[in-house]
């Protein structure tokens, strides 16, 4: 595999492109980054040899597999959720921190930094909750040449039973106190990695900030039991017939991570430079985290699934998208979506959309029909061939009608005109129709429709002004705060 694919290696695209080519370089809590793509503290960052190969593949930084007193791991350690034939849509582990001696890890950090001085190496740390222990490990990691420190307050299994990891992250006072100890000693930036296994991520984030953290990273893994074998009744992963709750990550956790990222970034008392983590597998995911305010992103599961090489498209895709949108740097779009996340009470109640089916694209699967009848508001109908709109036909009646139909194999000799029959055009009777007067604009049909852009949601509230729940309450239009939200568009 070739060398790091930095933005400069794309110059061959022609001078215009090259001149306008955006850059992925940025600064994160004072650390210069050649690109925002870091490997998260996990098996892909176990040792120096791995990290150097990762840097060769194009990763801009790596958070070392958490360093602390070496532990003993169990086997097996991982399990996953497959979804409709796709592997590892969710990934789970009961692995602990590094099982290698602290000294070996630190020597290798020094070696990597010597050979890759421009790449970012962060030492992830976890030691017992004593001031001296933290002072000692901070000193040694920085002496080894780490560019920054990440405090692992997130590991949800094993380590937490020993009073470390999420046992710290879940108690704001501990979080604040240990961050404070570290800051007493640290010369490099201190990043606190948060656990999602709490009810409000802002509480530990605020504690870390009070403790003096320079930055945050989120999220670590989510407590999980991924599944149970239906023959042996054994939950996975199986360790000699038993299992333990593990940490969940991978594509399945991205929405949860995005929400937590937004909560931190929208809260002045939590807000710090943020490294986004959780289900990131490609440049699109990365762009979304950055749009919600992250400066770097960290990746674990995707690299474990497909290898370090995935970073090539992460860089290439993000650069192409930035060029298309006219963004020159990461800072140009970082946080752009934050103002668009509001509290529910601030949303426009007068905004009205309805579903529109584009008959020319419809393939006639009728998933929208069954979804609206069973899961929404019974306003999609199969009446395009009826003389007049017919909203009385129920799904049961439709199916009964089909069951009565006598179908035969079309035989050219017996059935004139069947040989040229085409399946390229959707028969009109199979194309559903939306009753726009009753559509509440929930989106469901457009979400289930397998054909891109076949159902679009169209705005119909022509001249109504913006009005939110908050405003309605303020105007006294709603007497009690718990009153039902009524649509004005009746």
């Amino acid at each position: 595999m070739g060398s790091a694919l930095g933005s400069e290696s794309l110059d061959g695209w022609g001078c215009n492109m090259a001149k306008d080519r955006p850059t992925l370089t940025s600064t994160f809590c004072g650390i210069e980054c050649m690109n925002p793509f870091w490997l998260a503290s996990a098996p892909p960052t176990n040792c120096g040899e791995q990290i150097m190969r990762a840097f060769d593949a194009g990763w801009g930084g790596a958070v070392w597999k958490t360093i602390g007193e070496p532990i003993t791991n169990v086997s097996s350690r991982y399990s996953s959720i497959d979804w409709e034939g796709r592997r590892m849509m969710g990934f789970n582990n009961i692995e602990l921190i590094s099982d290698r001696p602290i000294e070996v890890n630190l020597q290798e950090i020094a070696e990597v930094k010597r050979r890759y001085p421009k790449h970012v190496v962060i030492a992830s740390l976890m030691v017992e909750s004593k001031r001296e222990s933290w002072h000692d490990i901070v000193q040694r990691a920085e002496d080894a040449g780490a560019d920054g420190l990440e405090l692992n307050f997130g590991c949800p299994h094993g380590m937490s039973e020993r009073g470390m990891g999420s046992a710290v992250g879940q108690v704001p006072e501990y979080c604040e106190k240990i961050t404070g100890w570290v800051k007493e000693k640290a010369r490099t930036p201190v990043i606190v990695k948060l656990t999602p296994n709490i009810s409000d991520i802002r509480v530990p984030a605020r504690a870390a900030k009070r403790g003096g953290a320079d930055a945050l990273s989120a999220i670590n893994t989510i407590n999980s039991i991924t599944g149970i074998d239906l023959d042996t009744f054994q939950p996975s992963p199986n360790v000699d017939g038993k299992s333990s709750h593990g940490g969940y990550c991978g594509p399945a956790v991205k929405p949860i991570a995005l929400n937590m990222v937004q909560q931190i970034q929208a809260d002045a008392t939590s807000m710090l430079p943020l490294s986004g983590i959780g289900g990131i597998g490609n440049w699109r995911d990365a762009a979304e985290f950055i749009l919600l305010g992250c400066s770097t992103v960290q990746v674990c599961t995707a690299a474990m699934h497909y290898g370090y090489r995935i970073v090539e498209d992460m860089q290439d895709g993000l650069l192409n998208w930035m060029a298309e949108k006219g963004f020159a740097t990461i800072e140009d779009f970082r946080g752009l979506s934050l103002p668009n996340v509001r509290e529910w009470k601030q949303l426009n109640l007068n905004y009205q959309i309805v579903a529109r089916i584009h008959a020319d694209l419809c393939i006639g699967c009728q998933l929208c029909y069954t979804a609206c009848w069973d899961g929404a508001h019974q306003c999609i109908h199969l009446d395009r061939t009826s003389p007049a709109p017919d909203t009385t036909l129920t799904p049961g009646m439709v199916e009964a009608e089909s069951a009565r139909r006598i179908s035969t194999t079309p035989i050219p000799k017996l059935d004139a005109g069947t040989s040229g029959r085409t399946n390229a055009i959707t028969p009109l009777e199979r194309i559903p129709r939306v009753d726009e007067h009753h559509c509440v604009g929930c989106n469901l049909c457009s979400l289930v429709c397998p054909v891109e852009n076949c159902i679009t949601m169209e705005r119909i509230d022509k001249d109504l002004p913006f009005e939110s729940w908050e405003e309605r309450v303020a105007k006294g239009l709603i007497t009690s705060g718990t009153g039902e939200v009524m649509s004005t568009n009746t």
């Binding site: 034939g85 699967c365 009728q366 069954t370 006598i406 179908s407 035989i411 050219p412 399946n423």
Partner: protein, 457 residues
């Protein structure tokens, strides 16, 4: 039921035939079946189900494959189509379920419904589980079924599930009709047809083989049973009506196909000419190639556009090396005790559709074997002739139309209420799945007519 050797064990496969007639559509393994099953959209009121004459709930059985509920998947299939395994291999799915799949309009790759169906059915056989239905509580009623082809078998299954006795009479030594003796071996091996019927017979079906039922026999059965189902299929292949047809080396497609499938015939001579261009002709021509012929021609008096074979069958034949001669008509067969060649004249179609010979266009096509495949005749005439039996008989007045038994499509009832019919003898010769659908409707129709309203077993 009396002790009998299971049907599949009554036949011995011929190694040459097994070798040369390998699966046209190989089975899926689990690794292939599950992603394919997951690709199905699970359409509402699914077009594939509507297109299937037996209305198999395709999305349901496919989702059950995806969820790993294979026994449930097979049950869903069999509930609608008791010959679900045969149909998964024999059906012309391009014009049925797969032809109707919405995926044609999505990414042009219809779900491989037939292969998934076979996967579920194979899994049922491999599991060794019994047929997932039990006969209904005995009602004391009984029905005689003439013919033991797909139509009668499907009818019998519905009757048994409702506790009605089913007596099947067939002229042949084994059940299944053309499902056993007629379908190309690379689609449905004879032994597989028998395996399915063996499973079906767990419902307690009574077979009476090598019993050709004539008018007198039918009158007798009418007297001893509460209703009669006619599933007699079609008759022999038409004759050409030219000189030399009696020569050795002149045969017909049904005999050729039944011959190689039952092991009576394992090779054919070098040059084979098949007359006719329907699906049966294609099957006979491809079989000839596989049985060792070096040159196989299909002759047709009209053009390719008028050919009654399905387009995909035509492509398959060309792919196997079969050559087509269009617009030619046989005028005589040459030979000397044994066939040497076929006399042909070029013909042209006129405006009104009739065919006229072209002047001075006669020629001879050398051949060692001539296979006639110009359509099956009907053989239901004995049902409409004057009653030759006792006074209680009514069947003498069963209404026919162009040799086909006229039925009410929804119930299978003929013009004589006690007589029901279905399959090729009513529909002019379609497919196995049409016969199954006819038989199923008739079984339900008979039960309804007999006033039996038991739930399904």
């Amino acid at each position: 039921m009396s002790e009998r050797v299971p049907f599949p064990e009554q036949v011995v496969a011929t190694p040459e035939v097994v070798k040369r007639f390998g699966d046209l559509h190989p089975p899926f393994d689990r690794q292939a079946a599950v992603p394919e099953a997951n690709r199905c959209l699970y359409c509402f009121d699914a077009p594939c189900t509507i297109a299937c004459p037996t209305h198999i709930d395709v999305p349901s059985f496919i989702k059950k494959i995806a969820s790993g509920n294979l026994s449930g998947s097979a049950r869903t299939i069999l509930d609608a189509n008791i010959l679900g395994a045969s149909c998964s291999r024999a059906c012309p799915v391009e014009v049925l379920c797969e032809g109707a799949c919405v995926m044609h309009r999505y990414n042009k790759q219809p779900i491989q419904i037939a292969r998934l169906q076979r996967f579920a059915m194979d899994a049922l056989y491999e599991s060794g589980a019994p047929l997932p239905f039990a006969p209904g509580p005995e009602t004391g009623l009984s029905v005689a079924l003439i013919g033991a082809g797909p139509a009668s078998l499907a009818c019998a299954a519905e009757l048994r599930r409702r506790g009605i006795r089913a007596d099947l009479y067939d002229a042949r030594p084994l059940p299944g009709g053309l499902n056993t003796y007629g379908i190309a071996e690379y689609k449905l091996p004879l032994v597989e047809s028998l395996r399915e019927i063996e499973m079906l017979s767990q419902l307690g079906v009574e077979f009476h083989f090598e019993t050709k039922v004539d008018a007198a026999g039918l009158a007798e059965l009418e007297g001893t049973h509460d209703a009669v189902f006619l599933g007699i299929g079609l008759g022999a292949i038409h004759q050409l009506g030219v000189a030399g047809e009696e020569l050795a080396g002149v045969t017909n497609a049904l005999d050729l196909i039944a011959g190689y499938k039952s092991g009576a015939l394992t090779t054919v001579p070098k040059r084979v000419v098949v007359v006719g261009a329907g699906n049966t002709a294609i099957d006979a021509a491809i079989a000839s190639v596989r049985l060792g012929a070096s040159e196989v021609h299909i002759l047709y008096r009209r053009g390719q556009e008028q050919m009654s074979a399905f387009a995909f069958e035509y492509e398959h034949a060309k792919h196997e090396g079969v050559k087509f001669l269009w617009h030619v008509q046989p005028t005589g067969i040459r030979g000397d005790g044994i066939v040497k060649g076929l006399e042909l004249t070029r013909v042209a179609a006129t405006e009104d559709g009739s065919i006229v010979p072209e002047k001075d266009s006669a020629f001879v096509l050398e051949a060692d074997l001539i296979v006639l495949s110009i359509g099956q005749s009907t053989h239901a005439d004995f049902l409409s002739g004057s009653p030759s039996s006792g006074p209680s008989s009514t069947f003498g007045k069963i209404q026919l139309e162009r040799g086909r038994i006229v039925i009410d499509r929804a119930t299978g009832q003929t013009s004589q209420p006690k007589f029901f019919a279905g399959g090729d003898c009513t529909n002019g010769g379609r497919e196995v799945v049409d016969a199954v659908a006819d038989g199923k409707r008739a079984g339900i129709g008979i039960a309804g007519w007999l006033g039996v309203q038991h739930g399904k077993g």
